[in-house]
């Protein structure tokens, strides 16, 4: 007779150990991967890291001494926007070769500065635990990623600059490049905030719209970026939609007078 079924166990069975939480069960925390904990010593490594290891940049922005990293990212943003400005300035040549780089670099920094307070507030309201330094760092990362992508587009922009005289076309092309670059930059920013325990991203999405509008308006406030002008800055104030409308109207009138 088999007594195993009759005799109840006197000691409870020890349950199997609970397996560790796998990566697929949720997002990994920043710093889980040892490669993310490596410090970023210089701007070259920063550029490579933001393209290939963005989590490393996000992790380092939370560490003491993140100010140096932020300064490096801003420096790269300024340099890259100056270079792209030179390429954009080759369309008109002359004084635009120095005026456009200055305008693009300064305009970008001012746009970011204008939008930084609202970014911090909206992310706080969304429940994010990111401090002001980290928020500033993520914004600097957005600027850096945006501007290095613009450098990637620079050869294409230059080729088109040399082979067309159409202001509207070149303006549209630069806007398309800027839009694509900004999308990647905003994706970096959003990913950064997703690791800061934010409960809601509604405020961030509103901020994205504000940032895009401010940047677009800045191009009009600092015009001309393409084309020439007697003064460095415009004497007349305009909103960007009115300015674009005037440019297209002027183009249509010019083509009508040519066809007569």
């Amino acid at each position: 007779m088999n007594n195993q079924n009759l005799i109840p166990p006197t000691t409870p069975q020890i349950p199997p150990p609970i397996p560790p939480v796998m990566a697929s069960s949720g997002p990994r925390s920043l710093g889980d991967d040892p490669s993310e904990r490596l410090a970023i010593p210089n701007v070259i490594v920063t550029i490579e890291a933001i393209l290939r290891q963005p989590r490393r940049v996000m992790f380092q922005l939370r560490q003491p001494g993140a100010g140096r990293l932020i300064a490096g990212m801003l420096f790269v943003s300024v340099v890259c926007s100056l270079i792209y400005g030179v390429v954009a300035g080759t369309f008109s040549g002359g004084a635009q070769l120095w005026a456009v780089p200055v305008k693009i670099a300064v305009g970008l920094m001012i746009s970011a500065l204008i939008c930084l307070p609202s970014l911090y507030i909206f992310t706080c309201l969304g429940g994010s635990q990111a401090r002001l330094v980290e928020v500033s760092g993520l914004l600097a990362g957005l600027l850096m990623l945006m501007t290095i992508l613009l450098i990637g587009f620079a050869p294409v922009a230059w080729i088109f600059s040399q082979s067309t005289e159409s202001l509207a076309w070149m303006g549209t092309l630069h806007l398309i490049f800027w839009f694509i670059a900004t999308c990647f930059g905003l994706r970096f920013l959003e990913t950064g905030f997703s690791h800061s325990n934010a409960r809601s991203s509604a405020g961030f999405r509103v901020w994205v719209v504000i940032f895009m509008l401010v940047a677009l308006q800045m191009t009009t406030a600092l015009r001309p970026i393409l084309g020439t002008s007697k003064t460095f800055l415009p004497t007349e104030k305009k909103f960007f939609i009115a300015h674009w409308g005037d440019c297209l109207k002027g183009r249509d009138e010019a083509s009508k007078s040519e066809s007569r």
Binding site: I151, G152, V156, S163, T164, W169
Partner: protein
């Protein structure tokens, strides 16, 4: 395998057949000799095809097109190299600059090899066609030759990109990532390549225009403006 064994014309057949392990290894290891071989294949293959293209107009046009066709390929690859290298990791394929550059160059090598292989066929077709002149009403012949060239170039391009997609799938481990990266690279290369082709026109030539390396209006206007205006004029005729 020794260094000399690695570098041989057989390498081109390996590229064409798409042997994944070897190609992945080649993209991962930079070799100046391999790079030189690839550039030579592009120059020779696309050059011969360009010569066949331009020969219908004039032997001088053949020479010009033989120079311009490889130039477009090399300029497009080089000008977009930085952008393509940045887009790859941003879209999920974490490869360094050299590897992305090698991958794209290899796809163009495959396309150029196919074009070079078809160049005798194109030359034969043109040899059988009436010569291009304003007097000869050769519209159907012109259209047929044009369409044949488009078909050959399309076939070469598609084959090159299929092999590139297979390579990217291997590197990324996921077809979705490979698709994204290929699409982004294609969009950038097509965008720039169209404009470079516009600047460097003509390739076949026109009987009513002289044989020139560049047209006088090469740097006036661009490909997309031209397409836009053509569309506007097309739709305006219905108003």
């Amino acid at each position: 395998m020794g260094a000399l064994d690695e570098l041989s014309p057989r390498e081109i057949s390996v590229l064409l057949s798409g042997e994944p392990e070897k190609i992945v290894a080649w993209t991962g290891q930079w070799s100046a000799r391999r790079f030189a071989l690839h550039v030579v294949v592009i120059i020779v293959g696309a050059g011969f095809y360009g010569a066949a293209m331009g020969w219908w107009r004039d032997p001088q046009q053949a020479l010009y097109t033989a120079l311009k066709f490889p130039l477009i390929i090399l300029l497009t690859t080089t000008a977009n190299a930085l952008l393509n290298a940045m887009l790859a990791p941003l879209l999920g394929l974490n490869i360094p600059f050299r590897q992305s550059f090698s991958a794209i160059l290899m796809s163009f090598v495959i396309a150029a090899a196919i074009l070079g292989a078809f160049s005798p066929l194109l030359a034969f077709l043109i040899w059988n066609a009436p010569p291009m002149s304003s007097a000869t009403p050769s519209e159907s012949t012109y259209n047929f030759i044009k369409l044949t060239q488009v078909a050959v170039i399309a076939f070469a391009g598609v084959t090159g990109n299929v092999r590139l997609f297979q390579l990217l799938s291997r590197l990324a481990g996921r077809r979705v990532v490979a698709c994204r990266v290929l699409f982004a690279w294609l969009a950038g290369n097509l965008f720039l390549g169209s404009q470079l082709s516009w600047i460097l026109r003509p390739f076949i030539g026109s009987p009513s225009l002289p044989v020139e390396f560049f047209r006088a209006t090469a740097l006036h206007g661009n490909f997309y403006e031209n397409v836009f205006h053509s569309l506007l004029q097309f739709f305006q005729q219905f108003d």
